[in-house]
Symmetry: C2
Subunit: 102 residues, 2 copies
């Protein structure tokens, strides 16, 4: 069953175009992570926050990614990462056109 991974953390930038220019290779590599279906890249420069919303094939792949990603962020100096793996309520999500199909 697909799971939603919600990640956010304090981030000093860069944001926007600067960020996209720098992280193209990382984004491409994320497509190769086991079980990764999609990612929406989130950022909020005014509050110095960044993160991502992901759909994964299952709990195990989401958990493995969260551990790898948290370690990668730690190496970049980001110690505290808020990560939650959520179940998705399918019937309610389908009423609201939530994009949880593959």
């Amino acid at each position: 069953m697909t799971k939603l991974l919600q990640v956010d953390f304090e981030f000093d930038g860069p944001f926007g175009e600067d960020l996209s220019n720098r992280l193209v290779e990382i984004a491409k590599s994320i497509n190769n992570e086991p079980g990764m279906i999609w990612k929406i890249w989130t950022e909020k420069a005014a509050e110095k926050l960044a993160g991502g919303i992901y759909l994964f094939e299952d709990e195990e792949s989401a958990q493995a990614y969260l551990e790898m990603h948290s370690a990668r962020l730690k190496k970049m100096g980001i110690a505290e990462v808020r990560g939650h793996i959520f179940d998705i309520n399918g019937p309610l999500t389908n009423i609201n056109q939530g994009p949880i199909g593959r």
Copy 2:
């Protein structure tokens, strides 16, 4: 420009099928909220968490919804709601098939 609204809060349940049976009418009403494009309903019974990930047309509609939703949750006894309206990094999200089109 579309915005992502991320909401989560402590929640005692119900979860899963019980929740979907109870909240069909609220889910339908969410389709009528100005600027709402989609919602994914998130829940995590083991940690007593629930929330939602939404795509909105713009900042104003996301902000108005977050205020309405927080007030509604407060009436249900949920005082603390964590809500963030994020910008979406389009180029990186497109690399990862993020569902941000309409």
